[in-house]
């Protein structure tokens, strides 16, 4: 029998969705392990956050009033101390950008085996964790043969916990070694305001890696013009400097909810899908019939975009 400790996440005064998903995932694991679910909320308005996090399935919420915003040195120290105190069977953290910034350090520090980016798990005796590899082309399971483990879960994979809970809310006094805090967050900045707000568009024509060369983007621009649509893109196009950052749809770009989203030469990496799955109608054009984009598309064409896009543009000129 062992408990689960889940570490919640917030930014600029707001709990992030993954915090509620962590409750669901953490409860699932705690049930499998036959223990309690402990949450930790570190930094910021911890008592305000704790009220929101007090949902069904949570046994104890540990509030740690240290600083305003995420600092990985502080998080690592606090989680290590909480772990020593609670000795949970599993520490569950978000596979978010900030999760990636402290979870591996916590695991190494505590000599815990680490499995990141879990999309499912089951503990019936041994813990089995499901992950994706090779850009979602394969799924793997790994078995963890240890009594204690560190896990990070992929945001968006577990439903958010609901209902009101009756958790014990307790304050945890961490002892922070300030000399070991060698990173300082100095601010935040929103990127890419720019000329166009793709979050406002009703129709998005979005281009991905399949376009191959910068000069080919013109093909998709022409289509967007003909349709009266707005041009957006997946990450590689922005990384290559072919379109500005304000056009990027995805986890690290913008979350969009247009009526129609036409994904052209986009394979559908999970980070991209996170930004566009809320579109009303999703249409994919891709040569690979197994591309993950077809899993979420409503309509699709499995063909070469260099044949389909000009033909489609012609239909509207």
């Amino acid at each position: 029998m062992s408990d689960v400790l889940a570490i919640t996440e917030h930014r600029r005064g707001e709990l992030r969705d993954v915090s509620y998903e962590l409750i669901t995932a953490g409860r699932q694991l705690a049930d499998d392990l036959g223990g309690d679910l402990h949450l930790a909320v570190i930094s910021g308005d911890v008592s305000g956050f704790a009220d929101h996090l007090n949902r069904e399935g949570v046994d104890t919420i540990h509030t740690v009033d240290e600083g305003e915003e995420f600092n990985h040195d502080v998080y690592t120290q606090v989680i290590t101390q909480l772990y020593d105190d609670l000795q949970p069977g599993a520490v569950v953290m978000p596979n978010s950008v900030n999760g990636l910034d402290y979870a591996p350090a916590v695991a190494n520090h505590l000599s815990l085996p680490l499995v990141t980016d879990a999309i499912d798990f089951a503990a019936d005796g041994a813990l089995e964790v499901t992950r994706e590899q090779y850009g979602s082309k394969v799924e793997t399971t790994v078995e963890v043969d240890a009594d204690h483990v560190a896990l990070t879960i992929r945001p968006g994979e577990w439903p958010a916990a609901e209902g009101t809970g009756d958790a014990d809310i307790v304050s945890f006094d961490a002892s922070i070694d300030e000399s070991a805090v060698k990173s300082t967050v100095t601010g935040f900045e929103e990127v890419g305001g720019g000329d166009v707000d793709i979050t406002e568009a009703d129709i998005l024509v979005s281009v991905g890696r399949g376009i191959k060369e910068e000069e080919n983007i013109e093909l998709v621009e022409k289509l967007a013009d003909a349709l009266g649509a707005t041009l957006s893109s997946s990450r590689p196009i922005v990384d290559n400097g072919w379109l500005p950052k304000n056009r990027q749809v995805g986890q690290s770009g913008k979350v969009v909810t247009p009526d129609v989203y036409i994904a052209i030469g986009i394979s559908g990496a999970v980070q991209h899908v996170a930004g566009m799955k809320g579109a009303d109608t999703i249409i994919a054009i891709n040569t690979d019939p197994n591309a993950p984009i077809f899993d979420i598309a409503d309509y699709g064409i499995v063909d070469d975009l260099f044949d389909v896009v000009p033909a489609l543009t012609e239909q509207f000129q």
């Binding site: 910034d101 190494n108 680490l114 990141t116 590899q133 394969v138 899993d295 033909a311």
Partner: protein, 264 residues
Amino acid sequence: MKVLVTVKEVAEVEDEFEIDGLKIDERYLDYDLNEWDDYAVEEGVQIAEENDDVEVVTVTIGPERAEETIRMALAKGADRAVRVWDDALEAADFVDVATKTDILAAVVEEEQPDLILTGVQASDDAFGATGVSLADAIDFEWAAVVNALDLDVEAGVANLRRELEGGIEELTDVDIPAVLTIQTGINEPRYASLRGIRQAQSKEIAPKSLGDLGLDASVIDSEITLTSMYEPESESDATIWEGSADETAGKLAEFLRDKGVGQA
């Protein structure tokens, strides 16, 4: 100063493939420099170009085949390379974060770098954890998912940006020595010039076994075992339009017109 860049050769999988046990059948794999590491190499080379007396060393855990990829990094401007491999690593189905951490920590012990750059993740196993785990092991500071870096060597501080979700960047100062995990888009990785490719041929790639690093095969022991690999079941319920490009474009056009698209 010395910059150590971790470089991984990753397998890329063709659209159609078969799984053989716990691996993808070799016939369907192409090997290449991990995309994130390409940006890390470029960042290291740019630091060397902007500062005096900077040596850029790459480190790879990988078989002899990986030397082709390592040469690519050398052709882009890294000065020399270390490659760690032996029979024990060859025999492992799965090398976990802790093992990579131990191996890289041993290399750090030998090389004594001031700054370590890694890719945020490798495109094959996508653990995204080695850099930060290594930082903790060697008692360096760190930052994950760095998409802008201004290194103040005099002050011993890296002024950087971390790319958070939703188009937000965090501005952070980190004391060096540090490990930074580099996000794609931080720079524009150069192509290897012909001159660089020629020069790379004469640069050193030092092969090291676990024993050379003072480690033994027990470093590969892991509490994590790969137990299955399979193609995920397609959840697709998409309507796929069939036919020639003209025909499918016609059907899509009709669908869009029905939705009122393109009717200004």
